[in-house]
Symmetry: C2
Subunit: 137 residues, 2 copies
């Protein structure tokens, strides 16, 4: 049998052993079987699956989203379009986050630019002034 133990899977995926168990609780990565003494046994496919999870995480997907994609990828009636749609939605989500952050960054830059800085007393600090200003939230 080429099945492997949890420690080997964890090592192969370069993750903590508890992380593998955590993914199991989240229904993302189930062992193929258990030994008579209760030890988890994983197939070689589990390594692929674990790699999938880590890769997708690195691209900004949450475990929940990853679970959906994995479900899709094993659904017998799934089409490529389902997955592509998911990816495109994610791209849009990320774009929104980027735009939000850019807006915040630009606002902060503007406030900071007019601040004298250095050893000027706090009364002249336009940053604090801005935070205290009474404007629409």
């Amino acid at each position: 049998m080429s099945s492997i133990a949890i420690g080997q899977l964890a090592k192969a995926g370069n993750v903590n052993i508890d992380t593998v168990r955590y993914y199991e609780r989240k229904n993302l990565l189930m062992p193929e079987a258990r030994t008579p003494s209760g030890y988890r046994r994983y197939s070689g496919d589990s390594i692929r699956r674990l790699r999938f999870i880590r890769k997708a995480q690195g691209l900004g997907f949450s475990l929940k989203e990853i679970g959906n994609m994995l479900d899709m990828s094993s659904a017998h009636d799934a089409e490529c379009g389902n997955i592509k749609q998911y990816a495109e939605k994610k791209i849009d989500d990320i774009q929104v986050r980027i735009s939000d952050l850019q807006r915040i960054r630009d606002g902060l830059r503007q406030i900071a630019a007019s601040c004298p800085g250095g050893d000027s007393p706090l009364e002249n600090c336009t940053i604090l002034e801005h935070f205290y200003k009474n404007e629409a939230q």
Copy 2:
């Protein structure tokens, strides 16, 4: 006395009453005094302070960072440069987050672009293929 109760402060700041208590536990917003029966009493300055907190949050500062800025802003020896430095560090932090997200977005776009989509079978899905690929993490 022009002191106000917690409910009035919460309303003035447009936040949940529990949020005001939470900020107190975090040492961000302390009541001026307590009535004999233990009710919190806030000065008008608390409204300003609460506004400060919400505004800074909107600009991406964490409560911890906001606490630091508030401490600075009331330190007798504080200089404008201290605050400005803080803001500039935050701008850099945000810039890093933006760059990360842009990298992720571009990667995802590239993967998605080559995917046929539509009713093409999953074997042709370059998105799944990419996630399963054996590359450096």
